[in-house]
Symmetry: C2
Subunit: 251 residues, 2 copies
């Protein structure tokens, strides 16, 4: 089982318990943990007990279900401090959010997904789009495409060919050639704009935050209702302010 002698299997197993929780499995019994981790019952028993004692899992004394603890939030707190981009971007995003009155996100590349690291929801934003830490396939998002557009041609072509691209909505573009065209367009324009790729009636506009090496690992994305906006209006009213914002973050 262990590949090299530095791999501590027991620790890896413990982490599997944590990963067994997700947005549709927010609390788990012992046997559910056994099913979802594929580990032995005894092992799960010990790991869950340890995680509970160590404060990583809460436990309902009546139902005996395990739940994520506050520690899961504390870890996010430390992450925020650890990433200097976050503290640079946040005040600018707050200001931007107030100016345009729409939902504003900071997205970071994370493998072949993007992860939302900061989110400033507005009154129309639904729950899933209001909370940080959500991962979405990069190719399906304006943020992902605009970040890819700052990479080399080899890189973005490889990504467009192989990264996941599930059909989240009936209108999701699953033709990879079209996605690649959009990346090329983003490269030319300096922004990407999509509609109904992840959520119906949602327009997303994203501009990259370009690092010193010319590559972007982050992007600022605005989400708008397609009932209130069309692409033209987004380009006229939102894009200029967004470009100012990202420029000020890059310093």
């Amino acid at each position: 089982m262990k590949q090299n002698s530095l791999h501590v299997g027991t620790l890896a197993k413990g982490l599997r318990l944590l990963r067994a929780f997700d947005e549709s499995h927010v609390s788990l019994t012992l046997t559910e943990l056994v099913e979802r981790t594929g580990l032995e019952k005894s092992a799960v028993q010990r790991m869950a007990h340890t995680l509970h004692v160590e404060g990583m899992l809460d436990r309902d004394p009546d139902t005996r279900r395990y739940r994520p603890s506050h520690a899961w939030l504390e870890l996010a707190y430390v992450y925020y401090w650890s990433n200097p981009l976050i503290s640079r971007a946040l005040p600018k995003l707050i200001e931007f959010s107030r100016t345009v009155g729409e939902t504003v996100n900071l997205a970071q590349m994370s493998g072949d997904h993007i992860i939302y690291a900061l989110r400033l929801p507005n009154h129309r934003t639904h729950f899933a789009a209001s909370i940080v830490g959500r991962r979405v396939p990069a190719l399906a998002t304006a943020s992902g495409r605009v970040m890819l557009a700052t990479r080399s041609e080899a890189e973005y072509r490889e990504a467009c060919a192989s990264w996941p691209l599930p059909a989240a909505t009936p209108r999701t573009i699953t033709d990879r050639a079209v996605v690649e065209e959009d990346v090329v367009a983003a490269r030319r324009n300096g922004y990407a704009i999509t509609e109904a790729q992840v959520l119906l009636n949602e327009i997303s506009l994203a501009v990259p935050i370009i690092g010193t090496d010319g590559r972007a690992d982050a992007a600022v994305q605005v989400s708008l209702s397609s009932l209130a906006y069309d692409f033209d209006r987004v380009r006229r009213e939102i894009l200029p302010v967004l470009l100012d914002t990202t420029a000020s973050i890059q310093g």
Copy 2:
């Protein structure tokens, strides 16, 4: 070392590595990890390696420093889904934040601290007050006091006598009798208001979210500049809206 046979020491040690990071230690070398965890060099080497391979720690290939990974944000995402209060409160808080235009927080009791689970910053909010997961000694905050006020007399007296109460600012009240008086006042009034307990020039107003058992494990807190507001104005302008908000969350 192990207390009972269900305790998996290896897993507990791995978690200590994660806890070695905090807001003033956002990246750590191997030897720093050894110092901060008190574990053997070899153990830290293996644990850090495993956490890296499992995606819980990033690593700078040049400096060889370990850093929190995106996974730390993903855990927060799951936590949000796991706590039904969060999804009930968030839309109301967004609306409230827009109405009053000030920083709005959802605080939860976490042992003898409170933890900020939701934060809607405004343009004046500084970084530390903008990000979720921050823990603050409960007695020092309006939220903590107003939650204590919903507990039994025995409980809140015990808390006022023994919970931590560090002098965060020159004006922090460290007289526990005064704190207890404030809890009693909160019990009578249904809200708590503090000034300069955690941060100078900051007024905090908090109202509890009371559960079916009459006890509060959460509170909504508004933070205001004492340069712009005094207690009277807060009570007149903010408090009524805040009471409406918490009432609507309790449903």
